[in-house]
């Protein structure tokens, strides 16, 4: 994504995801697994951006989610920035990903972000297995959400990578 339109679309999508995260995530929980709208939006955007931009998008998503949770910003910012950066490496391949593949990449991005977060802020009570299971559920949820978002972003900003 490039220039002012890219920046505005990024900010608008992150804000929209934050609003949905705050208002709808708990309501849409299935077997205790909630969607993570911020990651579901961050991953497809990172996938069409250069690594530097992917890092920025992850930073914005982490900052927003940490602030909303009133949690330690460092943990959210670092885990999301790294995940955004790694996801955007996909853009360097310079190929047009199928929607399903993009969904899988987005699921992997969610898992990476959640696992990094787990190392930075271990879940209370040491319930690592249940945390990982919930994270897996969230990544599946996010993959389903990310596919149409990726299709939309690709249509707006083209298949090429751009920063």
């Amino acid at each position: 994504m490039r220039g002012l339109p890219g920046l505005l679309v990024t900010l608008a999508l992150v804000w929209l995801a934050a609003v949905l995260q705050q208002s709808m995530a708990q309501r849409l929980a299935v077997f205790g697994c909630e969607p993570n709208f911020l990651l579901a939006v961050m991953a497809p955007m990172a996938l069409v951006s250069r690594p530097a931009v992917g890092g920025w998008i992850g930073f914005a998503a982490g900052l927003t989610q940490g602030a909303l949770a009133g949690a330690n910003l460092t943990h959210y910012v670092i885990s999301r920035t790294v995940a955004g950066f790694l996801t955007s490496l996909g853009s360097l391949l310079d190929i047009r990903l199928a929607i399903g593949v993009a969904g899988l990449v987005c699921a992997a991005c969610t898992l990476v972000a959640q696992v990094l977060f787990m190392f930075l802020a271990p879940p209370p009570g040491g319930s690592i297995v249940s945390y990982l299971l919930t994270s897996f559920g969230t990544s599946v949820y996010d993959a389903l959400l990310a596919m149409p978002i990726y299709a939309l972003i690709r249509r707006w900003f083209g298949p090429q990578t751009v920063a």
């Binding site: 208002s23 709808m24 250069r50 890092g55 602030a67 909303l68 910012v77 090429q160």
Partner: protein
Amino acid sequence: MKEPTRITPRDWLLLVVLMVVGVALGRVQNVARGRGEADALTSLVQTLVDAPAATVRGAAQGIDDFWLGLIRAPSLTRENRELRAKLAAAKLYQENLDALQGKISRLYRMLDLPETAGRKRVIGRVTAYWPHENRLTVSVGRRQGVITNLAVVNQDGLVGVVQTVEEDRCQVLLVTSPSQTVGAVALRDPPQPGLLKGQTPTRLLLEFVDTQSPLEVGDKVVTSGKSETIPGGIPIGRIIKIEHDADFGSRRAQVFPNVKVGEVTEVYVVL
């Protein structure tokens, strides 16, 4: 000019810079939290998101209610009638309670003791629940007289303690958080005091001062009241397991909390 198709040193440098900024933001946030406040960035993000999120939540709830009303109209009408009857009874009970609390307050004043009974409460709506962080955001703040370390309760008992306060909202650290410690007593004769720490959403740990204290599974646990901000007698939970560590001479009990945090929608902050 065509974009580079591989990762550049500039990309790596930016990644490091963003991570360092993340650490710095965390430090700023911790300093503000130490003062019982939210940092400016957190406040800004919450302000930008809270209002539209409340609108979306209200709209979604409205749609839910509409369909529920269509499907369950007869049972809802019956339930409504029963609740009105219960409300009338509760009002009578509240009048008696107010009279008794007034009497207790007068007696405390006569004996020159610090007053705990009859404290004011403000009702707040839970606007967000963050299970991983053991935190709730509640829709009352400084404007309503909320300060840090106040007890937050609902009809089942202690929900948590106010950690940071802003103008119209506050962050509540749940009683189930491992970083939360509250003075508590197991209701025996005599009551057994101890320190209660959160562990998981379904388990708290109560460490007793007296290692020979008589305890039983099923004993009720309430707040001790040995605090300026948290009144005594607020229900917390029930003992489900008692552990005795002979090596360290310690005694502790696992407590199952009364409050189901995931279902909490309204709370009282005890001023």
